[in-house]
Symmetry: C2
Subunit: 457 residues, 2 copies
């Protein structure tokens, strides 16, 4: 329990205006995108790294839980203060792009920078920061690193971890750690960025991030394929990639999702289609684009595509993408509550995975619309339930997790474990593996003050 004196001491350390315990502040920082609520005891707004160090040192001494928070847009409760303590809100002051170093093609940012803001700034200079989580308009780079966020472009360009070159981070005891360099190669010491990325705020508070940028490809093109069956579409996905195609994105909508978007927006979508694939390709010269298009056309046709459409211009591309971008909000027609999972399987297992989802859907008599990033095997699987069916919904989810793991997949491709999936850790990991996670946690955070009770640890 935080005392009045703790508040005073923290205010003395970093300024009265930066430590709040009024009800409106506590409420504002008690939610995240899971819509679950846990009240913090104080909200702390560090101005800089020095403030982070002071706050952590204090809280570590007093064993006060600290939950680092970016935009609070996570889907697994990573930013929820389930054990009380303070929320360390990094988006208010620590939100600057410190440097875009065009010579070395890196950006140095504070954790509170919005993903899309960074993308826009580097694109002005002909550079490119590929990771594009669906939350890109509001999620922060710090949160992206903590969750190892993915996105649509992962098929070609990988995910957040593939762009983190260096970090500055503060350990729970207040020690500052600088790890990595502005260089592709750095093999001195343990790979600290490697373990901090995806650690969900449980090991250290990241205060500065150096990100790799690449040259922005000059040309892009959008393609759509309409398939009679999910199986054909999924075969087209993995066979295209294994056949040499290198699409930026390879996105998928199943029949239920197509129907939902059509019902809501009346766009003339083929509501009888088993699945739609949407793909972006990019390159610097027209001939590379043509080459990639020819590969997609070949493998789509070999897998019985009914319609293969290449967008002629930006308007047509936007039109094709409309269905995918509005999938998530449209499927709410199927139930009051959406239990949204982000399981991922090896691409070649996508046909079997979706067969299994259909079986589970029938077994529990629940609609389970699926869409997402099939190029990397990451299918957003949405179990739709009414409020009185939530228990049944979670039974279906458990079965979906089991299928996923049996197919060599993972519980989470993008969202992390956090609170929501913590109870499934024992399904995915052996007790020896969980013991190792605990030992790592203890090495960084012996007093267990940082984002306690997350990831099943």
């Amino acid at each position: 329990m935080i005392t009045k004196n703790d508040i005073k001491q923290l205010q003395k350390l970093i300024g009265k205006e930066n430590v709040k315990d009024s009800k409106p502040h506590l409420l504002a920082y008690s939610y995240d995108a899971t819509r679950k609520q846990y009240l913090p005891e104080a909200v702390v707004f560090p101005k800089d790294e020095k403030d982070v160090r002071k706050v952590l040192r204090y809280c570590n001494d007093k064993k006060i839980p600290v939950v680092p928070r970016g935009a609070g847009s996570g889907f697994t409760g990573g930013a929820l203060p389930v054990k009380g303590g303070i929320v360390l809100a990094l988006e208010k002051h620590m939100n600057k792009i410190l440097e875009i170093d065009t010579k070395n093609m890196v950006a140095v940012v504070q954790p509170g920078v919005i993903n899309k803001t960074l993308q826009k700034e580097v694109e002005k200079l002909g550079l490119f920061y590929p990771p594009d989580p669906a939350s890109q308009e509001y999620s922060t780079i710090g949160g992206n690193v903590a969750e190892n966020a993915g996105g649509m472009r992962a098929t070609k360009y990988g995910i957040t971890k593939d762009y983190v070159m260096a970090l500055r981070a503060v350990l729970p005891n207040g020690d500052l750690i600088r790890a990595g360099k502005k260089t592709i190669k750095d093999v001195a010491g343990y790979n600290i960025p490697g373990i901090l990325v995806g650690s969900e705020g449980t090991l250290a508070v990241i205060t500065e991030i150096t990100l790799k940028l690449i040259a922005k490809p000059k040309l892009t093109k959008t393609v759509m394929g309409v398939f009679e069956s999910v199986k054909d579409a999924m075969n087209a996905v993995y066979k295209s990639l294994a056949g040499g195609a290198n699409p930026v994105a390879m996105e998928f909508l199943d029949n239920l999702t197509i129907q939902a978007v059509e019902k809501k927006f009346k766009k003339g979508l083929p509501t009888d289609a088993g699945a739609i694939l949407i793909s972006d390709i990019d390159g610097n010269v027209e001939e590379e684009i043509s080459y990639q298009l020819s590969l997609l056309e070949k493998f789509f046709k070999e897998n019985n595509v009914k319609e293969f459409k290449i967008a002629k211009n930006n308007a047509e591309a936007a039109d094709i993408w409309f269905a995918r971008r509005n999938a998530s909000q449209s499927i709410t027609i199927y139930g009051e509550v959406k239990i949204n999972e982000d399981v991922t399987v090896p691409r070649s297992e996508l046909p079997r995975y979706l067969e299994e989802v259909e079986r589970i859907s029938n077994k529990y008599n629940l609609k389970i619309p699926c869409f997402g990033h099939t190029g990397d095997g990451n299918v957003h699987t949405n179990v739709m339930v009414n409020k009185d069916q939530i228990e049944t919904g979670y039974k279906a989810i458990e079965e979906i997790f089991k299928v996923t793991l049996d197919l060599g997949g993972t519980l989470s491709g993008e969202h992390g474990i956090g609170l929501s999936k913590a109870s499934f850790m024992k399904m995915a990991f052996t007790s020896e593996e969980i013991e190792l996670f605990k030992a790592i946690k203890k090495a960084f955070d012996p007093n267990n003050i940082l984002n306690p009770h997350k990831m099943g640890l």
Copy 2:
């Protein structure tokens, strides 16, 4: 000290023929590429992961040091048993390619597989494993992962860590850890592959590695640029990359290296040149190749290239590469002993770095030929000394390290810390950072049996 009984017990566990303590065996496993020698007390050849588990469990109980070893081709003593104990030789039995999964574009290998063997096998299937350390003909994938090996293609394709999707590894206590999946995205649990890569055999013994493969580009082209000054060449390097060029490799030879190769091989190299750049580019269509060539030509010319040559065929390409491939053996004309460092600086600092190396060379009156991977800022800096100058050589090295760190670089871009650079860890890291490394080491290896005394830990 290992006793006769320990040998007997280990033989009982994994077979008499797989545990050796005869002098010839101990001698054969007492060296690595540093040419330093430390005798192990036994050499152990596990047949499989089960054997690794049995051996580690035994050694952990008895607190016997275990040094995992691939080909012993490391340059920093990573495979040397400096505290005695056993060498765990993984190249003898655990050297199989277990699977090349073309559907998911991954290879699953045992640690003892030779890098080049894997490259050749996947290329037969139109796939590509880019990491190409200079030791690729004999170094093992296990060693590559343990050292996070780089290579010439890092400029475009990154290094070993960028290809490790999943691992199986055995902890010192014998526990088996499975980490990662055959998927680009997996954010469940801590990123164990991220911390094991580059951990130099100090945290766990890697028993199986799943590597990402990509589609093999259809076309490549080789280019050479001759420059009057190192400064012009280094400006051409980083300006090409910042200007949108995406070369596979961007290699460099300085004047001393050019002279040495010419003296040894009489190839008609321009011995008055300040520097030569050699670059490979690749792509799927001719127009992409032309586009990349036009960028290199533009930026090389803007930086005063004296000669810009595009290889017309494979023979000409091999001819251009000859000088680079024979650089390392040629520079031995400058001294009896080569102190070879693999420091790396941000690309934009290459001109200043090489100026500083020249200053240090003059100060100590030592020849310091430089060549290497300038595309990623990784310059092999070779302090050449006679046997009576070794101390002076190390003074020069220390100064080179200082300059490197001041320029935002790293002590090691490729070779790791091991034994050779252990004493410089305090120059590169704060005591807080070293404490964190020690805490991580302890989390994995509380008895400090795995590759003890390495990395300054």
